[in-house]
């Protein structure tokens, strides 16, 4: 497998991020039906699904190098985006082991891991990294193990400690987030950090999800999708930087809409970590502009229907108020009302 990395893409200022044709077709489109509503959409994270994005424990795509550089840029401006509480050191090593072993197994052309007792040699070819270190001895790495390995992975990660029949978000690397703050949430229990979500608490979603996650088993990871929309291909939409990206919402016009308005999909994965019994939560962010998605016949029709019929509470929660109607107006002429196949797959092999 060859991935044509695009190392020079940017996620700020001139926003040169784009998806290739293959990148568009592998987008984890989240809508399997013409209407969207919350559901318990957790499924086993097995190597199968309607997009190649589901085929590996941690997906690596054409944006890998650029996203790692973007992470480094955000961390240089705000080092507090990576924080791990002291009792999570075992979970840090668990994370490093899981990501290194997964990358080396799934992408042997790009990553390799050699173990000689506790001396490990890690090679990351796309980023030009080769390090020899002692597993379990953080002083042999340039960063703590969790920061070291998540600087080399796409998407955000949090670490949950399990105690008192609850989960506590006791660490994270968060630079590609949809408007939530690790620094604010760190140390919170499961219900505390989910407190801002409307409606779901009352119907017991979080009680059930917590019970389920407390029983999550090693080697049986699970996944779910979440989505929202973002103006410009900006990964770092953090509360800390709201003054930077918040005003973007006022810049959408019918002319620039196809390039500016992006569907933002989070592929969320949950892994039980073996040594610490903690849970690693991966929040992998994918961006595709409405113009890119409109090149897929099924998706432009389905996206139109989903946005058109979206419950008003969801429009408000996802912050779509200013540009939802404009997006519907853009997509409406493409939608002839034809019956679409069930499931999110694009139904075409090329663009």
């Amino acid at each position: 497998m060859t991935i044509a990395f695009k190392p020079a893409e940017t996620f700020h200022d001139d926003f040169t991020y784009r998806n290739s044709d293959a990148g568009i077709l592998r987008f984890p489109f989240p809508f399997g039906e013409d209407a969207y509503m919350y559901s318990v959409n957790i499924e086993p994270h097995v190597p199968a699904g309607p997009s190649p994005a589901y085929l590996h424990a941690f997906d690596v795509d054409e944006h890998y190098v650029a996203e790692c550089r973007e992470r480094a840029r955000v961390l240089a401006l705000d080092p507090s985006r990576c924080k791990v509480l002291p009792h999570m050191m075992t979970a840090q090593w668990d994370t490093l082991e899981l990501i290194m072993e997964s990358f080396a197994r799934d992408y042997p052309e790009y990553f390799s891991l050699a173990k000689n007792g506790s001396t490990w040699t890690w090679i990351n070819r796309p980023l030009g990294i080769e390090d020899k270190f002692t597993f379990g001895d953080a002083s042999t790495l340039p960063y703590e193990p969790f920061e070291y390995i998540t600087r080399q992975a796409q998407g955000d990660f949090t670490l949950q400690d399990q105690r008192n029949d609850n989960l506590f978000v006791d660490g994270g690397m968060v630079t590609t987030q949809a408007d939530w703050s690790l620094e604010f949430d760190i140390g919170m229990s499961f219900h505390e950090w989910h407190a801002p979500v409307p409606l779901a608490h009352q119907i017991g979603v979080f009680d059930r999800a917590l019970k389920f996650l407390l029983r999550l088993q090693q080697a049986q990871p699970v996944r779910r999708l979440n989505w929202t929309m973002t103006i410009n291909p900006r990964l770092d939409t953090s509360p800390e930087n709201y003054p930077v990206w918040g005003p973007d919402r006022t810049t959408v016009t019918p002319e620039n809409l196809p390039e500016k308005v992006h569907l933002r999909v989070e592929l969320q994965t949950l892994f039980r970590l073996p040594r610490s019994n903690a849970i690693l939560f991966g929040i992998r962010c994918y961006l595709a502009s409405v113009g890119e998605l409109a090149r897929v016949e099924k998706w432009r029709k389905r996206l139109h229907r989903v946005l058109r019929d979206l419950p008003p509470e969801l429009e408000g929660y996802k912050g779509l108020n200013r540009y939802r109607q404009m997006t519907i107006d853009y997509l409406a002429p493409f939608d002839d009302g034809a019956v679409l196949s069930k499931g999110p797959q694009p139904d075409q092999a090329s663009l």
């Binding site: 086993p44 009792h87 668990d94 400690d161 105690r163 029983r215 090693q218 699970v222 610490s276």
Partner: protein
């Protein structure tokens, strides 16, 4: 959750370390590294004895740092359902056994200021894994282990392999020991872990609670199978249309599996909650650690791995 498949393990070494204790060193049948595990993890073996199948969970007493081997210690329990007798009589070096991926229902707290471990008999096995881990951490710990006089030497040898900390071996009954004094004098932030026979754990936990220990600092692990037997009864599986006779020496879950139905299950010790099943008629005799007292009293769900029927018949939504 999906099943990740099973592990094929070859017995590398098997030896009797006491008249009733057999130690097994297991490696991957293809010599590949085994999955990483943490202190408190267990391994569930799936044993085939002709037509009979046993699924027994054992604590991983030791895992090699390079993940090449796991070690378990099995006590022969003649009047059990048969898994331990099968392991003692028919499983030796070279035998291939099947196992699930390791799980962990008895992990060490990451926030404890001190770990207090209290073990009884074969309940030493998870603590052997704990000790290997704790000797590399700055957190203080203290182990008290109770055993039969005739097994003092065996446990003494097992425990000497772990260095550092305070290790106390008591060849006596826990009732002869001043538990209250031990539990009264622990520093704030201490977590208590107890593993051993049910009656032993109940006593230690009750003593701790009566001296003001909060539930969040109490951890216990029971051995699956401690509650296997009981009066025979009939289980009706409504959705499958089956009527199953559950004999006195078999669990409800085993009887259901023998009939060809495979309900979800995990720990098989009433701790994880995976096999929770709705009760449509009849009254369950609850033996699990998962459901609350209110749920036990309501009797609408049960853990079929350990619990049985109170009467002669129970109807399940399976």
């Amino acid at each position: 959750m999906s099943n990740p498949g099973t592990l094929a393990l070859r017995v590398r070494e098997a030896e009797m370390i006491a008249p009733l204790l057999k130690r097994f060193v297991l490696e991957s049948a293809d010599r590949a590294p085994l999955p990483s595990t943490g202190p408190g993890a267990h391994l569930r073996l799936m044993l085939k004895d002709g037509a009979r199948k046993y699924r027994n969970a054992y604590s991983i007493a030791a895992a090699a740092p390079d993940n090449s081997t796991y070690e378990i210690i099995v006590r022969r329990v003649p009047r059990s359902r048969g898994g331990s007798v099968f392991l003692h009589e028919h499983v030796d070096a070279g035998t291939i056994v099947e196992a699930d991926f390791p799980g962990n229902l008895f992990p060490l707290s990451q926030v404890a200021r001190k770990h207090l471990l209290i073990g009884g008999g074969i309940g030493i096995t998870p603590f052997l894994g704990y000790l290997a881990h704790l000797k590399g951490t700055p957190t203080p710990f203290e182990l008290h282990h109770f055993c039969r006089v005739e097994e003092e030497e065996t446990f003494g040898q097992l425990l000497r392999r772990a260095e550092g900390g305070k290790i106390h071996l008591h060849p006596e009954l826990v009732t002869e020991f001043d538990l209250a004094q031990l539990l009264r004098t622990q520093p704030l932030g201490t977590h208590l872990y107890v593993c051993g026979p049910e009656i032993f754990m109940d006593l230690v936990l009750a003593t701790a609670r009566s001296h003001g220990w909060p539930g969040s600092k109490l951890h216990s692990e029971s051995f699956g199978g401690a509650h296997a037997g009981g009066a025979p009864f009939v289980a009706v599986l409504k959705r499958s249309g089956l009527e199953i006779h559950v004999p006195e020496d078999q669990t409800l879950l085993e009887a259901i599996e023998a009939a060809g139905v495979e309900p979800p299950s995990l720990c098989r010790g009433g701790a994880c909650g995976q096999c929770m099943t709705e009760v449509l008629e009849g009254e369950p005799e609850h033996r699990d650690h998962y459901l609350s007292a209110e749920e036990h009293a309501a009797g609408r769900v049960m853990m079929i791995c350990v619990s049985r029927a109170k009467g002669e018949r129970i109807v399940l939504d399976l």
